[in-house]
Each structure stands twice: as structure tokens, then as C-alpha cells.
Amino acid sequence: MNKKSLSQQIYEARWCYLFVLPCSILTGMFVLYPIGMSWYFSLLDWSGFTKDAKFIGLQNYAEAINDPFFWNAFSRSFIFMFGTVPVKIILGFVIAVFLNNQVLKLSPFFRTIIFMPVVTAIAIIGIVMTFIFSPFNGPANKFLMATNLTSGPIDFLGNPDTVLPTVMGVYVWKWLGITMMYWLAALQTVPQDVYDAAKIDGAQGYRLWIHIILPIVLPFAIVIILVEAVSALNVFPLIETMTAGGPFFSSEVMEVYIFRTAFVTDAGTMPRLGYACAAGVFWGVAVLFITALQGFWMRRTRRI
């Protein structure tokens, strides 16, 4: 077959280009263009509400890296990630292993229940949880006191020491159903004959798991960790509605910091979109860097 020229190929594929156009325009407008613009905005001294924007070079970045609140939020985002992802991965796996048993008649029911918080609006979860964890007769404190686990009410969301673990716990509760579904998908790829063969060879109990099943589900584990890690860095709605970053900024993660500097301001001061963009760019690059590292690790592991 003789090779067609590029222009001929392009002409023949004209319908293909027409078909990718609508989606490409949307992605361009709401994903690619914003990425480019946030780089530009980050170089401006700009409130976002007036037309007068002043070009100030890298000053926003300099200010951000000298702001302790910025670094606190930055590290808190990672504390959040490292505190929640392992819990979700392990707990999700254990639950999936149990619910994967067909013999368990109520298994579909349990799956539905555990998945239910996933479909519930995250902002509503945040608001309802402020009730649940209220120190004034909130159900969580009522339960703890009724069972004599604590003597007095705990101000879960009002105490800087307990607020982050509480929000992390709610986050795990909210999204564990997804992790469980990932693991169920992984476990169901283990072929029955592999299992049968292992049994004939006398592999049982933990040996069956370590030598037969874990190696098969491991490639899934890496994808699951990657997906979970990225989503644990996107927790704005939950934290904004539960604590708005408080008390005294003790639960302020990066996205809440960006939102606060961009849109929410103390009386009398102007919002600072330019500065918030600089923080956002810094953050986006950091996340992409971590993702790339994980992606690299994933490819290496899969090759072996």
C-alpha cells in the first residue's frame, strides 16, 4: 500500500476532526485555558473585581513562600493525604474481601449501605457533620457520654487538636465506598481456576493471600493508590462546609487557603485574585509533580 500524503490523510479524516471539536472546545475553555491564564494572573497585583491590574512579576510567589499560613496549609494537605489514603486502602480492602463472598447473603445490602455516603452531596455531609459533632448535645457526644467513653462533651470541630482528625475521619467515611468498589473490581479479576489450583497445591489461609491473590491485585493497588492520593488533595467542599479552615486556621488545607485569599476577605480589605493564583499555580505544580512521580513508579512496577 502506498502511503498517502499528510494533507490527504487529514482530508479523509475530516469527519473525525468535526467529531472531536465540541468536546475539545469545552476542555479548552474550562481546563486548558484556565491553566494558562492562572499562570498569567499569578504575575499580577489584581483584586479580580476591577480592571486595574498591575504586572508585578514574581512578587506574588515571593510573598507566598514567605507566608507561614501558606506553608501550614501546604503541609496540612499532605498530612491529610498521608493520614487518610492508607486507612481507606486497607479498610476498603478488608471490607471488599468479606463482601466478595457470594455465600454472604446480605453482601449486596452491605455494599449499598457502605456506598451510600458516596452519592450524598459533599457540602451537605459537611454541614450535617457539624451537627453530628456539635459539643452541644450532638449525637456523637451523646453517644460517647451515654456509653461512658468520655465524661464531658468533646468539642471535635472547635478544638485545634481534634479538628483535623475529625475531618479526616469524615472524609474516610464519605469516600470509603469508592475504595471498596475499586477493590471489588480488582478481586473479581482473580480467576477461579487460579484459586482452585492453589487449593489443590495446598495453599490456604494467609499463604493463599500472600502468594496467589496479592500478586494479582497488586497492579490495581497502584492505580487505586494514585487515584486516592489525588482525590485526597481535593477536599475543599468538605472542609469549607465543616470548618471553613478553622478554628484559628487549624484545618486550613491548600484549597481553602486559595479560596480564602481569592474570595473571602476580612472587612475593609480587597480580595487578591493574583496572589491566590500564584498559590494555586504553586500547588498545581506540586500535585502534578507528585502524580508524575507516582506514574513513573507505576510504570516501573508494571513492567516487572
Binding site: 469545552l26 481546563v31 463472598n101 447473603k105 455516603p117 478481586l187 477461579q192 490495581f220
Partner: protein, 283 residues
């Protein structure tokens, strides 16, 4: 033979019962916060903070009336409904078309296009929200539902495209050739023959987009900062918390109005929810 691994032997009744009972108790605690808000929406404020019980003494339906009319949840409900339905239509059409050509055709530039798409998966939303807000303002659609709807549709298509592309690529070529012989053009083949075959993916993508659009928070909260009229339910309940801080039962009713439709949808169409979620790791 089942494809599942059964380690709970049917004969071992004690183990079976222990596991079942454990999961029953676990499920109750797991779901308690949702049951709590449902029961609180039908209680008086006094009763809400009275005890851990879930059954109201008397059903107070006025809570819903107050939320629906007084706190404007009725309006926010229809805003959310419009945004959700229209964004589902946009997303299914655009990602379906995209997935179709990616899954079935080779053309110059295809690899670059896929590469760009994959790269966008990991962009945090917080990173793009400010320019999106600015873009809608410049296009003069930041003060009505149009802007919010388009932005909602524009944000998450990558996984949908992969689902469509995967499904389309498995449809046998003969079908297309037969259509060509009958004189059907590119668009007609797509609409009349290909799209109807992908009903399961259309359903999965629609469900995922409903979930996303209905529950989204960051985008609508930013876009509606200066326009209370176009708030969505999530933003409405959040604003409710700020405005009527002491109306606990009204807020619980507003929360139920927001979450119940999706929970009901989930209970009836669970299969598609699960498929959509699992598509992310299977691919």
C-alpha cells in the same frame, strides 16, 4: 463455578452468623448520620437535640415547607435540576462523539489529543477555578444558569471519553461497513447505528455526570457568590447555614431535599453507579 473467592464456608454457621451480625451493626453505625438528618428534618428543634432516637414524636412537615419556600430551596432545586439535565445532555453528546472517533478511527494528531486529555485528569479543580470565573464574566454568562451549566459540563470528561472509546472499539467493523453499503454517511452511521449500541455506556456516563453536577460545590459556590438567584442546592444549604443559623430542623429539611433525589436514583440504578466507579481502575 463462581468467579468469586469464597472463604466463608457455607457449613460453618457460627462464622457466617458472626460476620453477618458484625456487618449489620457496622452498617447501622455507618448509615446513622444519614438516618439522623432524615429524622431531624421531621422533628422540632427541641426534639432534635433531645436524644439519639430516630423516630419523631410527631411528623413536622412544616420544616420542608419552610425550607422550600422560606429558604428558597424550591428555586435552587430547579436550578440544580436544569444544570444537571442540560450538562448530562452536553456531556453525553460531546464525549460520545469524541470517544467514537478515538475508539474506531486513526487520524493524524490522535495521539497528541489523547496525551493532552490524559494530562488533564490530574489538574486539581482549585487550580483552575479563578480563570473559569473570569472567563464566564468576560463572556457575560456568569450571572445566569448558562455559564454555570456549561462550566459544569466542561470540567470532567476524560473518564467518560475512555469509557466510550473502549466500548466503541469493541463493536465489530462489519456493522459500519454494512451501513456504508446502505449509503449511510458518517453522522448517520453514528447516530442511527453506533450510538444505540452503546446504551450501557450512555447510562453509566449519564449517572456519573448526574452525580457530579448535582453534588458539585466549588464551582457553583464561586460562580454564585454575587448571584443568590442561581444558587444550586448545595450552595443554598451552605448559605442557609449562614443566614438562619438557629433553624436546625429547616436546615435538616433542606439537606434532605438535596440528598434524597440522588439516593433514590442510586438505589434504582446501582449497577450503573458501580460500573462507572469501577471503570476508573479497570481501564
Amino acid at each position: 463455578m463462581s468467579k468469586y473467592l469464597n472463604f466463608i464456608a457455607e457449613k460453618n454457621q457460627v462464622r457466617y452468623l458472626t460476620i453477618t451480625v458484625f456487618f449489620l451493626i457496622f452498617s447501622f453505625f455507618w448509615i446513622y448520620p444519614l438516618l439522623w438528618v432524615l429524622s431531624a428534618s421531621l422533628k422540632t428543634d427541641f426534639e432534635i437535640w433531645g436524644g439519639l432516637g430516630l423516630i419523631p414524636d410527631k411528623l413536622i412537615w412544616e420544616n420542608f415547607e419552610r425550607a422550600w419556600f422560606g429558604a428558597n430551596m424550591g428555586r435552587y432545586f430547579f436550578n440544580t435540576l436544569i444544570i444537571t439535565v442540560v450538562s448530562v445532555v452536553i456531556v453525553v453528546i460531546t464525549t460520545g462523539m469524541f470517544g467514537y472517533v478515538i475508539g474506531r478511527y486513526a487520524f493524524p494528531g490522535k495521539k497528541i489529543l489523547i496525551g493532552i486529555l490524559i494530562a488533564t485528569i490530574f489538574i486539581p479543580q482549585g487550580y483552575t477555578i479563578i480563570p473559569v470565573f473570569d472567563l464566564l464574566t468576560d463572556l457575560k454568562i456568569s450571572k445566569n444558569l448558562i455559564g454555570l451549566t456549561i462550566a459544569t459540563a466542561g470540567h470532567t470528561p476524560v473518564i467518560y471519553i475512555l469509557l466510550f472509546a473502549g466500548y466503541f472499539s469493541r463493536i465489530p467493523v462489519e456493522l459500519e461497513e454494512a451501513a456504508k453499503m446502505d449509503g449511510a454517511g458518517f453522522i448517520r452511521t453514528f447516530i442511527m447505528i453506533m450510538l444505540p449500541l452503546t446504551k450501557p455506556v450512555v447510562a453509566t456516563v449519564s449517572i456519573l455526570q448526574v452525580l457530579h453536577a448535582w453534588n458539585d460545590f466549588l464551582l457553583p459556590v464561586v460562580i454564585t457568590l454575587g448571584n443568590p438567584d442561581i444558587r444550586t442546592l448545595s450552595v443554598g444549604v451552605y448559605a442557609f447555614k449562614g443566614e438562619y443559623f438557629v433553624d436546625w430542623s429547616g436546615m435538616a429539611a433542606a439537606s434532605v431535599i438535596t440528598i434524597l433525589p440522588i439516593i433514590i436514583l442510586f438505589l434504582f440504578m446501582q449497577k450503573y453507579f458501580v460500573e462507572g466507579v469501577q471503570g476508573a481502575v479497570k481501564g
